[in-house]
């Protein structure tokens, strides 16, 4: 028996390779691949049906038995499509004494469809299958949008699914089909390769052929509404097939089947569009092609439970990638066991859903890298490189000289650095949760944090205006020692008359009440060229924040450098290191 089935597998002409079409999807035991790839709408010849495990439903059985006989009649008409019909019939008959209602039931549906097709029924008219080779590597939304954009005739894709790596869907309209054929090799993907599109005639897609009747839809909607929790926006469709309401009315909602999943999603679209949580546990889902439409229908879903299903590979999850999931349950799916350990499993899932916070009920460790930084590194502009270098060294030199004087104990020397009408202001961050009285109090009297300071008069007062005022107020600030190696400098705006740069770093207070405290500072300078190839500061804004001492032992690593005028070896090494820090960290804009 087994080998005959194997033979048949090779010969059958049906082209749907989707697992869904080969699985009735209702018995728990997972089966070998050979079965799932077995083609045929003859339903399952899968021996697992023999294992039972399914509730006997006498009414079904009776009805289907009748249909078996009916099918015998029609099978003769169908022989051209089904070379092994006779065998199959026999087999099914043999099993009818058991509890293989499902097989037969599917045949009933199948034949209904086939008959309709032959009768040239409008709704079951000519359908076309569109295939995109290697379609799996493209994002589904991008692919469908691109195809829609390029196609001259608008169309509605039906039953999008993947077969091996090919993407396939159906369209009904012949003009759409020929328009799609025209755009084959017209769309370019990101690697600039042209995407082929193959069009062929096909049988009616399952979700159309097996479309639920209106009263079934109504009952399904009622059942789903019962299972919906509006306070949580959560829909619990666990074991939907065995819902007593549905079972009582003989409505078989097998979510693994395209028609049932499409109907369910349609109801979600109409009635629960802002769905947050969806539970599909224990629904014998073998594939998620149908569910992937959820991404368009309810993109708000953040919690998804797919545990205790029949998902065999993580590729299924790729189909759901468009959802920004925060919680996911996947346990008790066959593919969970294919990972060597827990962390590979977790990282595979996180690749699909990077924002995932909770997997199988366990909180995930937070990401260790700041991944927002990586993709945006831009190449420095080559042509102005020399000019940049000159500016960089100018700024570096300026900072060295400035901080040398600043840390020297007498800041009067800074008068030469400022323009006559320069502005300076100082802000500190006062953290109200500090237990001890803040050690930044010496900066408080000049604090011009406009978030807290609303008085417009004070706002003007605290902005030091002339260079004398500025240096006067700088002299009063505590004595400091800046860590030049901690400096990160951004040169962020330049014109011929203006140079803006920001310095971020740390400094230590060397005497006074807060001796030993370490501060983080951010200082923004706007400078204008001075006559003697130096620069004058026209705007200077300093922001100081206290950083807890124990954390910053490592940050503070260097002594104050020797003054620029000396030419000791220490200095040049220092300068080199600053160049290093500077060139890797700073960005610039050029006009």
């Amino acid at each position: 028996m087994a080998e005959r089935q194997q033979r048949q597998k090779c010969v059958l002409p049906w082209t749907y390779r989707n697992e869904e079409y080969s699985d009735g999807g209702s018995l728990p035991q997972g089966r070998k691949k050979s079965w799932s790839s077995f083609r045929g709408n003859f339903g399952k010849r899968n021996p697992r049906y023999e294992h039972g495990g399914y509730k006997p439903q006498p009414s079904h059985f009776q009805e289907d038995y009748r249909n078996v006989r009916m099918r015998d009649v029609q099978a003769d008409v169908q022989t051209r499509h089904a070379p092994y019909t006779t065998d199959h019939k026999r087999r099914v008959k043999l099993h009818n004494e058991g509890c293989i209602q499902i097989t037969v039931w599917r045949n009933k549906k199948f034949l209904k469809g086939k008959v309709g097709e032959n009768a040239q029924d409008g709704t079951l008219g000519s359908w076309f299958k569109i295939k995109v080779p290697d379609g799996m590597k493209y994002d589904k939304t991008w692919l469908m949008n691109s195809i829609q954009r390029h196609c001259s005739v608008p169309f509605t894709p039906v039953d999008f699914h993947y077969v091996k790596n090919w993407a396939q869907f159906f369209v009904q309209d012949a003009s759409a089909a020929s328009a799609l054929k025209d755009i084959s090799y017209k769309i370019c993907d990101e690697e600039n390769k042209k995407i082929p599109i193959f069009v062929s005639t096909s049988a009616v897609p399952y979700s159309v052929r097996d479309k639920l009747e209106p009263k079934e839809m109504e009952q399904l909607k009622l059942t789903m509404t019962k299972r919906y929790d509006p306070s949580q926006k959560a829909l619990d469709l666990q074991s939907l097939r065995y819902d007593p309401d549905l079972v009582g009315l003989d409505i078989d909602i097998i979510l693994n089947r395209r028609n049932c999943m499409a109907a369910t999603l349609q109801i979600i679209k109409k009635n629960f569009p802002e769905l947050l949580s969806l539970n599909l546990r224990n629904n014998k889902l073998h594939q998620l092609d149908g569910l992937s439409d959820l991404i368009q229908i309810a993109p708000t879903v953040k919690i998804l439970n797919l545990s205790r299903n029949e998902l065999k590979s993580a590729c299924e999850l790729d189909k759901m990638k468009g959802l920004k999931l925060e919680e996911l349950w996947l346990e008790e799916n066959p593919f969970c066991g294919t990972f060597p350990d827990q962390s590979t499993y977790i990282s595979a899932i996180k690749k699909c859903f990077p924002k995932l916070l909770c997997l199988d009920g366990q909180a995930l460790p937070p990401p260790t890298t700041v991944d927002i930084d990586k993709p945006y590194l831009t190449k420095p502009c080559e042509e102005s490189y020399k000019r940049c270098e000159a500016l960089k060294s100018l700024v570096m030199q300026f900072l060295q000289e400035y901080y040398f004087i600043y840390d020297s104990g007498n800041r009067q020397g800074l008068l030469g650095a400022y323009h006559d009408e320069a502005c300076f202001s100082l802000t500190v961050l006062f953290n109200p949760t500090d237990q001890a009285p803040s050690s930044l109090f010496e900066y408080f009297k000049d604090n011009r944090n406009m978030k807290n300071l609303k008085d417009p008069f004070l706002r003007v007062q605290l902005l030091k205006h002339t260079k004398r005022d500025i240096v006067g107020s700088l002299c009063v600030l505590p004595k400091t020692q800046h860590d030049l190696l901690s400096f990160v400098v951004d040169m962020w705006f330049q014109t011929e008359r203006m140079l803006c740069f920001s310095v971020n770093g740390v400094f230590k207070e060397v005497d006074g009440n807060s001796q030993g405290s370490v501060r983080a500072f951010s200082r923004t300078f706007i400078a204008t060229p001075a006559s003697c190839s130096g620069i004058f500061i026209v705007n200077d804004e300093l922001f100081v924040r206290d950083i807890t001492p124990r954390k910053t032992q490592s940050a503070f690593s260097i002594q104050v450098p020797a003054p620029i005028s000396s030419s000791g070896p220490n200095l040049s090494q220092q300068q080199q290191e600053m160049v290093q820090a500077f060139s890797t960290e700073s960005g610039m804009s050029l006009h």
Binding site: T427, N449, K451, N504, F543, R545, S586, G587
Partner: protein, 198 residues
């Protein structure tokens, strides 16, 4: 966190409106309610023409006016910018000049297209601004183009990443029309400040 922040912004706006009362001692500048605000534009009433005068008194008044104008623009701007960044990210590039540049943690992004793309890809954010300061930029540097330096600091949490301290500097330039002044970002420099990262 979010509801708190919204109120906080509104609180600022309330204060901001109230401030306009205080300026009746200055007849030259008109202070109709603190600047009309269209959704994605920072707009303030026009600066009336400043008579060129060399007397220190006049100069002091001019400077004060510049400072006030700068403060007003800066506050309005910061409210709009971070609100747009958090809630209406798509509209953010509208606040930038065409040739504006963003330096984001050392990475350069130039031009509106690149900016739009960058903000699109950046994860969604929750900003909390704790510090704001501004200064009018001296005209010698800007060559008579009214410019304001705005400096902000606070914390930000990007979706999927941990919270960071940040520092951000903006150069806002004014584009004056007879009816109002529109402020746009000429340059933007953003950096995480993680000295005390826990």
């Amino acid at each position: 966190m979010r509801p708190f922040r919204r109120d906080w912004f509104q609180g600022d706006r309330g204060m901001h409106q109230g401030r306009s009362d205080r300026f009746h001692e200055e007849p030259q500048t008109s202070h109709t309610c603190g600047g009309s605000r269209t959704r994605e534009n920072v707009v303030t009433p026009p600066l009336t023409a400043q008579a060129a005068s060399s007397s220190p008194m006049a100069m002091a008044v001019d400077f004060k006016t510049y400072v006030d104008q700068a403060c007003r623009a800066a506050e309005e701007f910061v409210n709009i910018y971070y609100d747009t960044m958090d809630k209406r990210r798509r509209a953010l590039p509208r606040l930038y000049l065409d040739k504006a540049t963003l330096i984001w943690n050392g990475n350069v992004v130039t031009g509106l297209d690149a900016l739009a793309n960058f903000f699109d890809v950046l994860p969604s954010s929750e900003f909390q601004v704790n510090m704001l300061d501004c200064q009018p930029v001296h005209e010698q540097a800007t060559q008579a183009q009214t410019t304001v330096l705005v400096v902000t600091s606070g914390t930000v949490k990007f979706d999927g990443n941990k919270q960071h301290f940040f520092n951000q500097n903006f150069l806002l330039t004014a584009q004056s029309t007879p009816n109002n002044t529109v402020w746009k970002i000429a340059s933007d420099c953003f950096r995480f400040q993680d000295w005390a990262s826990s």
